[in-house]
């Protein structure tokens, strides 16, 4: 029974990692931009929810909606005014600029919120669990996994069943020809970043509600996001969910064998996948 519990906990943890990774996967899939500030934006999202709760007196749901709207606007403006200028054949400029953004964000958050660790309070929901026989499944981890599935399902619906989704995929395939179809790449990229930032805000919400956070934890969460994306396969959102679950399972199983192995086990599985399937387990099929 303990192993069943471990597997369930691993899958639920995978839901959180999938949320960490989905925004990263989306941005890389559409505009080949590796956002090194992705983890820091999750922390920004968590602090935005915290401000909504503590300064504005909102409940966590309303604070999260407000944070999502703010992050949408921030993502659009950031991509349109700064990151679009870095895109091109050379992958170095976006890496350098997002690395710089990462440092700026960390220091700005340190200045504003101090280095104290914080946690988002969900009105006691974070302490509730569902009892199934001998198993106790945490309500918050379960909601995290469900949210990840809903977010990915919605994004897939957007990509494959709407005109905007076609424009995203066309631009991802061939930006120059997409322009010939009347698609404004700058706006499409800005919209993609705005959507990714909404997912980042959701990731920040669950990150902050499930564990403590501080202004400097972004890069550590970025590693998990990278690993989930690469294990799952670049460009596939369901693959990213699978990557997150595999990473979560590796960590919980590793921790069960030896508590010191929790993080290491995740990295080892990532490296094994990288060696055996460099394109990931479920890469996007094209052509």
């Amino acid at each position: 029974m303990i192993w069943l519990d471990i597997i369930i906990q691993g899958i639920l943890l995978g839901g959180l990692y999938a949320l960490f990774a989905t925004g990263l996967s989306l941005i890389f899939g559409i505009m080949r931009l590796v956002n090194l500030a992705h983890g820091d934006f999750m922390v920004v999202g968590a602090f935005a929810v915290l401000v909504g709760i503590e300064a504005l007196g909102l409940n966590i749901v309303l604070a999260a909606v407000l944070a999502g709207v703010l992050m949408f606007c921030l993502g659009y403006a950031l991509q349109y005014t700064i990151l679009n200028r870095t895109l091109g054949k050379d992958i170095l400029p976006p890496l350098l600029v997002t690395f710089g953004l990462s440092i700026i964000l960390q220091n700005a958050m340190l200045e504003t919120f101090t280095a104290d660790t914080r946690r988002l309070k969900a009105g006691g929901f974070e302490e509730q669990s569902i009892q199934i026989g001998d198993l106790a499944i945490g309500a918050m981890p379960l909601l995290t996994l469900v949210s990840a599935i809903v977010v990915i399902q919605l994004l897939n619906w957007l990509f494959f069943h709407t005109e905007t989704g076609r424009a995203f995929r066309a631009t991802s395939d061939d930006p120059e020809t997409a322009q010939l179809m009347g698609i404004d790449n700058a706006r499409i990229f800005a919209l993609a970043m705005a959507l990714a930032m909404v997912v980042v805000a959701i990731a920040g919400l669950y990150m902050g509600a499930r564990a403590t956070f501080d202004p400097l934890i972004g890069p550590g969460r970025l590693i998990y996001a990278f690993e989930a994306v690469i294990i799952g396969g670049l460009g596939s959102l369901w693959g990213t969910l699978a990557g997150g679950v595999i990473l979560g399972l590796a960590q919980t199983i590793g921790a069960q064998i030896n508590p010191e192995w929790q993080i290491l086990a995740g990295h080892v599985v990532f490296l094994i996948v990288l060696v055996l399937r460099p394109r990931g387990l479920f890469p996007r099929q094209t052509g």
Partner: protein, 233 residues
């Protein structure tokens, strides 16, 4: 007044100057062919017309409006669409999605919609859910043509649409082009296949090293003149 006119059109391909003062025009309902060897500047000429190369505003005039250097989206919305060289279909989109993306963000009135494209190329209706890259070269060219038509352009620019296709397929593609012309579109055809170009065009321009070296009606230019204009000998 011509529908489209270029005046002293100068453009660069990267750091290279590819066009040196091109004067050309296209009348309503007319088809012109641009012929020339590889590197003559034909594709750069088309790229400049659709806004993919930066040029000065007054160098390109469409329907009396200076359009040079406008964004591709604006040029398309005014009625100039291009079938790019090599088809450039979107590999992650199905055949039907490739066609639909040609009409992105617009509802333009005109003879062309998805059903009209399927009447022009019935095979595409049968293959509409397939990945575009799984089609034969000729079928891919039909998708590329159909995708451009979805915008109901007043001017259709065709860049090397016969390249790499079997003669029978080329005949089919050019037969479709005749139908497209009959619906009122003006056409610019860039071709290396001189016979094909002379057959379809009302007028022909020959380019060499970024300059127009010959202009005339196909019936009014001799093989010797074309050879001289094409190779510069």
């Amino acid at each position: 007044m011509p529908l489209l006119e270029t005046r002293a059109l100068t453009a660069y391909y990267g750091d290279f100057q590819a066009l040196y003062g091109i004067d050309s025009h296209l009348d309503e309902g007319e088809t012109i062919a641009i012929i020339g060897a590889n590197g003559a500047g034909k594709s750069t000429y088309l790229s400049a017309l659709v806004g993919l190369r930066s040029v000065e505003r007054e160098m390109i005039e469409f329907d009396g409006i200076a359009l040079g250097g406008s964004k591709p989206a604006e040029i398309l919305s005014r009625g100039i669409a291009m079938v790019p060289e090599g088809r450039r279909l979107f590999p992650s989109l199905s055949v039907e999605e490739n066609l639909l993306v040609g009409n992105y963000g617009r509802k333009v009135r005109g003879p062309w919609n998805i059903e009209a494209i399927y009447r022009l190329f019935p095979i595409l209706k049968e293959r509409r859910n397939q990945q575009s890259t799984s089609l034969s070269g000729g079928q891919q060219q039909m998708v590329a043509l159909g995708r451009a038509l979805m915008a109901n352009p007043r001017i259709l620019l065709c860049d090397e649409i016969s390249l790499g296709l079997a003669p029978s397929v080329i005949r089919d593609i050019y037969a479709a082009l005749a139908e497209i012309r009959s619906e009122g579109a003006s056409v610019v055809v860039v071709e290396q296949n001189i016979n094909q170009a002379l057959e379809v065009a009302d007028r022909v321009y020959c380019m060499l090293e970024g300059r127009i070296t010959l202009e005339g009606r196909p019936s009014g230019v001799s093989r010797e003149q074309i050879r001289h204009a094409y190779f510069g000998q």
